[in-house]
Symmetry: C2
Subunit: 148 residues, 2 copies
DNA sequence: CGAATATAGGCAAGTAGCTTGCCTATATGT
DNA sequence: ACATATAGGCAAGCTACTTGCCTATATTCG
């Protein structure tokens, strides 16, 4: 792969990523959840898989436990999550989505679908699936954190 | 495209983007430029195309002029850029890369090439070029700013 | 021309999201 | 039982940004 091709691949990957984040953010906002930032989505993604402790969330987001705790404080105040006693460890608290949190997660999924529908219209379904397969091979399921 | 496919495409795109940024950041650091953060790369990308004013840079990075000016202050102090009088506008200053700044830009290009070589080994050259083409069609050359 | 307005960019203060350092409570291992 | 590790909270500090305001130069219009 020539140098110029590498540059344009790198740039277009970052641009596509940005376009996705912007599109999803706009879609979530348009569905009435206007008090959330993109970073919150990564927390929701982890919590929607059955809840997590502060420490697990911090590891997932690659931030300190303090930062994760502050984020949970904020989401709690806004009604998206709640802290429950952990069923197996009296030190820990299990953070779970509230009904509002689950509704927001669904809105985010719909926003993703909307954004990708536009891409499907451009590329066609086959190439879009091929794109997904290639990306999965490149970056196999790493934790889903902000990039920089 | 089914819902689950859309989710996994979105996740893998973000993961790949993160992997790229991490890889380039590590490569630039390994080449001796340890005092830079990923965000600086976006400024370099704009400046390497012949210099820019503070206002242009701020627009490119999607931050306020103050933030751009602070970034330029930092890069100036570290020897990567310098402020010159603007040849056509006595109000403005033209920010240009120094020799060190150009060397760093080359290091970044090499780091991109390194990272993508690993991907090429996984996907093969043809699919990697196809990936680039598809990404270019999805996100045609938008400005290159941090995503969130 | 000259006056009004717009633009480039700097100074200072404020803010948001993060980190580090330290603390208590509970769990785990010897 | 005791020593050590882990979950998480409190407080302070840091960094990259923002907002508000200022001067100098450009541009537009009477």
């Amino acid at each position: 792969m020539r140098n110029h091709d590498a540059q344009s691949l790198a740039f277009s990957l970052l641009a596509a990523s940005r376009a996705l984040v912007d599109g999803v953010s706009a879609g979530v906002s348009a569905r009435g959840f206007t008090d959330l930032r993109p970073a919150h989505g990564f927390a929701f993604a982890r919590l929607s898989a059955g809840g997590a402790t502060i420490t697990e969330l911090a590891g997932h987001l690659d931030v300190t436990r303090q930062a994760a705790a502050q984020l949970v404080d904020e989401l709690t105040a806004k009604g998206y999550v709640e802290r429950r006693p952990h069923p197996e460890d009296a030190r820990a608290r299990l953070i779970v989505l509230t009904g509002k949190g689950r509704a927001c997660t669904q809105a985010a999924e719909a926003a993703i679908a909307d954004t990708l529908r536009a891409w499907e219209a451009t590329l066609g379904p086959q190439r879009l699936l091929a794109l997904r397969d290639d990306l999965l091979r490149i970056a196999p399921g790493g934790p889903l954190r902000p990039a920089w």
